[in-house]
Amino acid sequence: MSPRSAASEATGGRLRPPARGPRAGLLRRHPLARFLLRRTLTAALLALGVTLVTFVLTNLVPGDPAAANLGQRAIGDPAIVAQFRHQHGLDKPLPVQYATYLGNLFHGDLGESQQSHQPVLTDLGTAVPATLELAGAAIVVSLVVGVAFGVVAALRRDRFTDQLLRVVSLLGVSVPTFWLALLAFYLFFYKFGIAPGSGRIAPEFAPPPDVTGLYTVDAALAGQWPVFWSAVGHLMLPALVLTAYTVGLLTRFTRSAVLEVLGQDYVRAARAKGLPGRTVLFHYVLRAALVPVITVAGLAFGALLSGTVLVESIFAWPGLGAYAYRSATTLDLPAVMGVGLVVGIVYLTVNLAVDVLYGLIDPRVRVQ
């Protein structure tokens, strides 16, 4: 029994359109639309779940936001504490607080940060692009390097190169990110002076005009090349530090995925009929091996977001990780919820993209 037949049986049974009619007809004719609709609904439900979990987590705990946000002297004054709690709606019952939050959420209002006294949406608007720029650069580098390493390791299985790459990839997943960041900062900035300092661009430049929020892209769009190079320079070191873990992860997974495919009959058949090695590798092996790798790349993106919390604090990168840290430690509930929501949405989007990519790469898993 092939997995393909089992899969088509399962999905065929579950996905049958419920009734006739124009809508059902449209969905029947466009399996991708149906798939996307179903996945988006699931994603919306999960995102709702994420807000609920964040809400419960941050509320069912002994920590008191008033204590975390007001100064020592203000805490002593019950009137100020009561006013703070009233102002942020903390004196209402929890279900009411959550319902209020959800109601505001549908209007695009994420509340006001108790720390920055700005709308959380505004805070996120500057923090999210900063982190996406960092994580995006890191994932691109990791994919290129990780997949290349993995393929080479698989092709040279059990030889010296394979062993070497195994050690490299295990080193990558074992090294504490925050320590690597510190080491890189010390060596390349303090000792050798070849890397620029912390932050997103050199202090003498003003940020480029805001289009995408990604400094490199914005500067290039505005034609401000000195700003562009400054942004690239500042991006390089933190992004490379972040890649250590993901390169290790992707190398290991690519290697085993390629090995798995190399043992398949159709690869042997392709070889046997005399196809050149390069054709076999790119058209037969890689195409099938990339499917599991893409899944892991989705997971790796989540790992990158984790890494940014630690790396951003060392490189003073004003991104989501730094914002998450600041708001979590001060129990700034609206901000924590905002971070949770953004992170949940990013994760779900990445997973959706991964599922769509599956179908593009491997026709066997295309939705029926």
Binding site: G49, E260, A303, L310, I314, Y325, L331, V336
Partner: protein
């Protein structure tokens, strides 16, 4: 073929990396047990010259309060390693039990457990652990709890997948037909078949747990200041980053511990993973 003696060793031990990892891990376990005997100084005593660079007197130098970094690194092992082992054991038990129930009973048990696991997976681990740790209040116990919250789902997922594969196999079904209770069947027929992969996961997870826990301490959400803890020591190293030895040595300690367990887990996986074994078989066939 070349060395018949080597072939008799279990597969995992024929790999030099596994032997390496095993030795380093064993070394660290010795340090955990014998830290007071090995450390040249009291890890908390502040009576040494401050910020002395590494030298004959202090191999790893001293920190900003005049404490011996080597002694603190050695004592730090007594924090990180036992806690990581405890964490992995707990998440193995919790995740394994929930996953086994989900896979064995299916239906709403499965749905509930797996949707909760999905929710936890939807968060990057450090961010979720950070929120939990910050919400509970910064302390080592709460950091452990926070890591536990993010660590159990991977065990649940793996166990569920394995159990679902086993649930309808003939030997399990025949047991049930003979009148085994669900619990008895899980214990006798299913458990022995899922232990191997779970053990691999747990070994690899010791490294992950160590990294997460020290990461939380690095952020100031774990061990409290005077305690010798590796993540916290690296954090104080960032405050004085021109005094490289303060951050470098505790970080190296984390790296070696994590690397050792990853070497071990990697070799164990190669030895136990049937899919790799299958490819090895195919490979041999082709060579022959």
């Amino acid at each position: 073929m070349r060395l018949n003696l080597l072939r008799r060793l279990p597969r995992a031990w024929r790999r030099p990396l596994a032997v390496c990892g095993g030795l380093v891990a064993a070394g660290w376990l010795v340090v955990v047990l014998a830290a007071p005997l090995l450390a040249p100084h009291d890890p908390l005593a502040q009576d040494l010259p401050r910020l002395a660079s590494p030298g004959a007197g202090h191999w790893f130098g001293t920190d900003e309060l005049g404490r011996d970094v080597l002694s603190r690194v050695l004592y730090g092992a007594r924090m990180s390693i036992p806690l990581a082992l405890l964490l992995v054991t707990l998440s193995l038990l919790i995740g394994g039990l929930l996953g086994a129930c989900a896979g064995f009973f299916g239906r709403w048990v499965d749905e509930t457990v797996m949707r909760v696991a999905d929710l936890v997976f939807a968060f990057p681990t450090v961010i979720l652990a950070m929120v939990v740790a910050a919400a509970l209040g910064a302390s080592l116990e709460n950091a452990v709890l926070a890591v536990l919250v993010v660590a159990w789902p991977s065990y649940a997922r793996v166990t569920r997948g394995l159990v679902m594969g086993l649930r309808n196999r003939e030997f399990v079904l025949s047991g049930r037909l003979l009148g085994f209770s669900a619990w008895h069947s899980l214990r006798v027929d299913v458990l022995p078949n899922v232990l191997g992969p779970l053990l691999v996961l747990a070994t690899l997870d010791i490294g992950t747990a160590t990294l997460l826990l020290s990461g939380l301490s690095f952020l100031g959400l774990g061990a409290k200041p005077p305690t010798a803890e590796w993540g916290a020591m690296v954090a104080s190293g960032t405050q004085q980053f021109d005094m490289w030895w303060m951050g470098v040595f505790p970080g190296l300690a984390i790296l070696t511990v994590v690397l050792a367990f990853n070497f071990l887990g990697d070799a164990l996986r190669d030895a136990l993973d049937p899919s790799t074994a299958r490819t090895i078989g195919a490979e041999k066939e082709r060579v022959a």
